[in-house]
Symmetry: C2
Subunit: 440 residues, 2 copies
């Protein structure tokens, strides 16, 4: 086999340029360099189909050979090796997916409805044609939960799976909890802001979450469920007073999807439930999704991220495209490199002194007048701004701990100031400096 | 190609029967059915090497053709197709890994030291021989963070990666925070309990975390770092008073590993830092590990699980073995099925009425004497025990919300009781019943 063939680009056909299709094209264009550093070859967008193809603005660097309003032209295009179906629904989307498989092309789809309805049968057709079906984007947009359940923890046997799978209902519950507003008022505001649909039933009555749970139950337990068989309750009746009582019980309230092994089968449900506030699942706020799993061997693992959005969902589609692209010419050179990238760049970290952070400085001192003056003079001389001075009640004037927090400052300046401070005669021990990391 | 070949089992050689090797054999034996439901074929343990091979008790169902104290016999065994190196260290482990690759066999390793030291060069040798190197178990035992970074979110471009990568130091910090004990006392207790080593430096001075961060930085950024170049501070100086001040600032303190893109390179460090208590990273308690990543496109994702332990780490090894087993005969029939299992089982959920949970019942009533008597009579008649009765201060006697929590009870009985309660004349609206989910 020749090298030029091994390194040949893989050509994609993208059908559907809505939110997910747009995010996918954006990532393929803007992240092309990182993607080819990982693959060892490039992903080309060869053909694109959109109902209003002419009017769409493609991202810079995206110059497909074919732009069409007829998906059949994308599927039939001789250069297209993988088709992404990003249309949604169960009508034409099914024709696209099955058409691509019939043409011997692997398919990536973000289509929860189609897969929940008929994914197993579609996969059989793909397997019979020797191609692959990938669907990471169909559940929990930004969380790679398919990759995790399918491969990452494949060796385990899942006992219990819990999920917060609908961002809209989680956002509404979070708002009720934080502001004590009524359900109806929060829903109306969410609709005004575009976070909830004009017809919100799919989100707030649990039907969207139910489809996703059916899919995850397949991945986790190898069980095919009819979504309508899943016990489902929504959040319409949750009131601010329920959060007050839940708090008294040390709990919060979430729309919880669950599937648990029990004697003779699985308990599966979507319903509001109380969760202890100290659990990691309780900390999932707003529009985020999360999945918690307990395995017989690996015990607890937890996965969290954006449930939706063009770019998070686009990451799922592009990651699937990369996986399938490696299979298009399955040679050793195309195997997934264990370090994710085909080549690692020898790297020295940047000098840590250049890093800027807000800081926490804790002192132990022998108390006397003028301490703050002396310390603040040193900080000012290094152009460092004080954020706050804190002192807890403490009786030992000879070993008094207190804290100064600093506004965002370069580490080198802070280190120099701390060293100067350390030579002050009232210091009992060297000051302790730690960065403050916000927004993790 | 013949069907019998497609479905032929894949034969493994396991070298090393310490904690991780023991966990791996246990899972291969006890989880064999689930594993073959996913693969479509079986993984056979064909050869096993242990320094004290004769004395080891193998799990029931594990009957290797060869048990030896000489790893060379495992690597050279003609039936062995994949070798798992679970010895650790950088001496004989390297010989095993390189010997297996030279023999044209793919390798799974749990060896953080060897991979951090020389993984990229070993991978080059494997690629040249057309075999694969897999190392999920080398970092964050039970969290499939390699699978996530290598494939799950491969389409993204990581901007920032934060990790809590050392369970021992996280356990010590959690204990200091929760009990207000001094560092030295907590460390001594952790050593007594076996959670910390007699020489605790690798854990508490950040060196173990540093090696893991170097590895994750390769996977996330394609950067090869020398661990010694990473700015590293340990937790010896963190005192209870620091947690008190941190709490005043709305924060906790964690030994935080971080790698962040900045102009011209990466800032990389291991050090104690303040984290806002409301962040999901702050909720990581005790011996758990966690990784938080922010990508240019997919934004925030978070991964959490056991950092170590024979079984969680064994899940990582077995999941890698399954992945490599599919590559041993890379035909379409061996591709990873999108639903994780080769066949889904048609499943109806168990009747939800049979599920037993503790319950939250919230009522809105018109107040009058005898309410608790009437409700508790109905519950008693259904053999349901009351856990607590809660009533927040409220003035509206005509629409008074109050709550009864129930001990673990079958859902059908609770539903029947709630229906009876709903016909009581003082009910303003139907009672709201929610399960209480503990321990997620």
């Amino acid at each position: 086999m020749l090298d030029w063939f091994l390194m040949k680009d893989v050509n994609l056909g993208i059908v559907g340029l809505g939110n997910v299709g747009g995010g996918t094209l954006t990532i393929l264009a803007e992240n092309a360099e990182e993607i080819s550093r990982k693959l060892g070859f490039r992903l080309n967008v060869t053909a694109v189909c959109s109902r209003s193809a002419k009017s769409k603005t493609l991202p810079a660097g995206c110059t497909p050979a074919l732009i069409t309003t007829d998906w059949r032209e994308v599927v039939a295009h001789p250069d297209v090796e993988i088709v992404a179906e990003l249309v949604g629904g169960t009508g034409v989307a099914r024709e696209i997916v099955e058409g691509a498989i019939a043409a011997g092309k692997s398919v990536v789809t973000a289509n929860k409805e189609l897969i929940a309805l008929d994914g197993a049968a579609i996969w059989k057709k793909a397997a019979a044609k020797g191609v692959t079906l990938a669907m990471e984007a169909s559940v929990c947009g930004g969380i790679p939960i398919h990759a995790v359940l399918r491969e990452g923890i494949a060796g385990d046997r899942i006992e219990t799976l819990f999920g917060i799978l609908n961002g809209t209902s989680n956002y509404i519950l979070t708002e009720i909890e934080q502001h004590g507003s009524d359900f109806a008022a929060v829903l109306a505001e969410a609709q005004r802001l575009g976070y909830a649909e004009a017809d919100p039933s799919a989100d707030i009555d649990g039907f969207d979450a139910r489809s996703k749970l059916a899919l995850l139950t397949s991945l986790a337990f190898g069980a095919r469920l009819t979504p309508a068989d899943i016990h489902t309750e929504g959040i319409r009746r949750i009131a601010p007073t329920d959060f007050e009582y839940a708090r008294q019980l040390g709990c919060t309230i979430k729309l919880l999807c669950s599937a648990r092994r029990a004697q003779g089968g699985l308990f599966v449900s979507v319903r509001p439930a109380l969760l202890p506030r100290k659990t990691i699942m309780a900390s999932v706020q707003g529009a985020y999704n999360a999945v918690w799993s307990r395995g017989t061997f690996g015990a607890d693992t937890f996965y969290y991220g954006r449930g939706a959005g063009p770019n998070p969902t686009g990451v799922a589609v592009v990651s699937d495209l990369m996986r399938l692209a490696r299979e298009v010419r399955p040679t050793a050179a195309h195997r997934v490199p264990p370090f994710a990238f085909t080549e690692l760049t020898e790297t020295r970290p940047l000098p840590i002194g250049e890093q800027k952070r807000p800081w926490y400085l804790r002192f132990r001192i022998t108390d006397r007048p003028g301490i703050i003056r002396d310390l603040s003079s040193i900080l000012a001389a290094h152009s460092i701004s004080i954020d706050a001075v804190l002192q807890l009640p403490d009786l030992d004037k000879h070993n008094l701990p207190f804290v100064i927090t600093l506004e965002t400052s370069p580490e080198a300046a802070v280190r120099q100031a701390v060293e100067k401070m350390n030579s002050l005669e009232f210091m009992v021990e060297p000051p302790l400096a730690m960065p403050i990391e916000r927004g993790i």
